[in-house]
């Protein structure tokens, strides 16, 4: 069955990579195999899409799923290239396992994004999470990384417990493990409790308020490439599930539940941006910024409808590109062997004078996160505005504008710090050709699609259609 070929190809490459590492321990070789694996999986997507449509039991193989797979696999590829440069800095740390974990985590994310029943949803989620814990705690010489790994381990175990309990209750109410049946559960207290518990678990993975407590420490402790993965891939996969679930018949939430989601969205937008204001650590700022962005995405999900769905996917792609760019700059500036990454605003000071290329990429990424032209973030945010206005979600749109203005302060203050002339140049850690290549590709995409977004919008519409 050609339709699930991208999954099969990733599985095969996990085995190939394991064999390669077993025969010869070499980080460049492992990175190359991983990169080839991602590209091979990406190449099978067009063929898989043209395969005869089948009604699979386990996976939903629709255009939207292939779209999310393509984005997830592309991010995986970019991070494998970025990682190969980054880990070269750590002389005493074998880097091969990072690529195994990256490949397995991406496979888990793809399974999660496509899962049509609870079994695969959970297996995909856990595979992704477990591999991600290894990626977060990867630099063992950094106590912060181990701490972040343990925090993420405990809190994600708790959210998994919520998810399982919720699905257990829903199975009891409906007698089925299929996502469509579970969502069409009758409106009994048991089913409502089950849905609420599943919602808590989803909220944790999306890191929206009030399930965001873990974000700053875990983002700050994770090495930059793992941070990028953590910020992007789980969110894409969970969004794919939510987008599919909201499109199912019987998925309409009760008005009360919609109010809860609206409040969560508004709180996420405000809290994310307000908490970021006081931070000096760029990774923490990006973490809080991701909370706010997921709040914006919730607005688009609440807007629903044709425009809302396109807005969700467009924003998710934008967010992925931009976060990879921002974490990529940190990765290129950092030395994996050091006690910490180059992650404070002080480390960025004077970057425009010492490494103008990196500073330009970071500026573009920050502008995109702030939603300013010419970066793609502007178009994406306008799309959500349009979707919100279309559905007359006035107070949510108002909150979005207010929190975007708050957000401007810290994005612009980072750009100002980079433009200051006084401080000495940050200690440049190697050249990291891989990381700079990734930055070139990503920043070009952010800029070009920001100026001419029509091809991407058309593609998203075709995928969703």
């Amino acid at each position: 069955m050609i339709q699930a070929a991208p999954l099969a190809v990733q599985g095969i490459f996990v085995a190939v990579l394991l064999a390669a590492v077993a025969i010869r321990r070499s980080a460049p070789l492992a990175a190359a195999v991983t990169g080839v694996g991602f590209v091979a999986a990406l190449c099978t997507i067009p063929a898989a899409m043209h395969g005869a449509a089948i009604a699979g039991e386990q996976f939903d193989l629709s255009g939207a799923t292939y779209g999310f797979w393509a984005v997830i696999l592309s991010v995986g590829f970019l991070l494998s290239v970025m990682g190969s440069g980054y880990w070269r800095g750590a002389k005493n740390l074998p880097a091969e396992e990072f690529f195994i974990l990256l490949l397995v985590a991406t496979l888990g994310a793809c399974v999660l994004a496509a899962a049509k029943d609870v079994l695969f949803l959970f297996l995909g989620l856990e595979t992704m999470t477990l591999a991600m814990i290894g990626m977060i705690a990867y630099p063992r010489h950094r106590p912060e990384a181990a701490e972040a790994g343990i925090k993420y381990l405990i809190l994600s175990a708790m959210s998994s417990a919520f998810l399982l309990f919720g699905f257990g209750l829903l199975e009891l109410a409906t007698g089925s493990l299929g996502l469509a049946d579970v969502l069409a559960a009758p409106n009994t207290p048991m089913a409502v409790a089950g849905l609420a518990m599943v919602g808590v678990a989803a909220g944790f993975k999306l890191s929206v308020v009030p399930f965001h407590i873990w974000v700053p420490d875990v983002y700050a402790g994770a090495p930059a490439p793992s941070g990028a993965f953590l910020a992007v891939v789980p969110k894409l996969a969970v969004l794919a599930v939510i987008l599919r679930a909201t499109g199912l018949p019987g998925a309409a939430l009760a008005p009360g539940a919609l109010h809860v989601v609206s409040v969560v969205a508004a709180l996420s937008m405000l809290a994310g941006n307000l908490l970021a204001l006081q931070q000096q650590n760029v990774k923490r700022i990006l973490g809080f910024s991701s909370i706010a962005h997921l709040g914006y995405l919730l607005v688009a999900i609440l807007a629903a409808g044709e425009v809302g769905r396109v807005a969700v996917v467009f924003y998710a792609v934008t967010y992925a590109l931009t976060m990879v760019a921002a974490f990529g700059v940190l990765a290129v500036l950092s030395n994996a062997g050091a006690a910490r990454d180059a992650e404070t605003i002080a480390d960025l000071r004077g970057l425009f004078w010492s490494r103008p290329g990196l500073a330009a990429v970071m500026t573009l990424a920050l502008l995109s996160l702030a939603g300013m032209p010419p970066a793609i973030g502007f178009i994406a945010k306008m799309y959500i505005f349009a979707a919100g206005v279309h559905q007359e979600l006035w107070w949510l749109v108002g909150t979005m504008i207010a929190s975007s203005v708050i957000g401007l302060f810290y994005y612009l203050s980072m750009i100002l710090a980079m433009a200051q002339r006084q401080a000495p140049a940050p200690a440049a850690a190697g050249m990291q050709a891989g990381g700079r290549l990734v930055l070139g590709v990503v920043s070009l995409a952010v800029l070009v699609l920001g100026v001419a977004p029509e091809p991407l919008i058309a593609l998203v519409k075709a995928m969703l259609g």
Binding site: N92, L101, V104, R140
Partner: protein, 162 residues
């Protein structure tokens, strides 16, 4: 009929395990909790899950935990401290709880005429057939899940190269 006592016992012993300050005692309480959970599974018609709960969780995993805890403290003071833990009637309550479970299970087995709780009985053969026919993809996925855990644990636990 024995569902409620077993469920109550599971909750109580887990609470004691979570709040306990002594790791070895907590683990032993946890064993009782797992045994009580096995009885709950058995009552619900999942005899296979009940057996796995006893063999895998209570039998293998917790014993592994116990070994680790005991290997962490090997000096004389620790030995004396551990000796002091087993003095007095501390064993009475856990043994009583386990005995209750045993009596309940024996009672259920002797009175086969008792109506089982409503639910679907799932036999081991059915589980095996499903896992290796329609759900084999899930088994493959679970193996990747274990691989992720294994690789991460291997990397994190490896001795630092100097």
């Amino acid at each position: 009929m024995i569902f409620w006592p077993a469920a109550l016992l599971a909750v109580v012993t887990t609470a004691i395990a979570v709040t306990g300050k002594n790791p070895v005692h907590a683990l032993l309480w946890f064993v009782i909790s797992l045994l009580a959970m096995a009885v709950v599974f058995f009552e619900l018609g999942a005899a296979f899950a009940a057996a796995l709960e006893v063999i895998v969780y209570a039998g293998a995993i917790v014993v592994l935990f116990l070994f680790v805890v005991m290997m962490l403290s090997l000096d004389k003071a620790a030995a004396l401290r551990e000796e002091s833990w087993t003095k007095g009637p501390v064993w009475l309550l856990p043994v009583g709880f386990t005995g209750m479970l045993g009596v309940a299970l024996a009672w259920q087995m002797l009175n086969t005429a008792l109506p089982a709780r409503p639910g679907r009985a799932v036999l081991p053969a059915a589980v095996g057939l499903k896992l290796f026919s329609t759900d084999f993809l899930a088994v493959e996925m679970a193996s990747l899940l274990l691989l992720a855990g294994l690789v991460a644990a291997f990397h994190l636990a490896r001795e630092a190269q100097k």
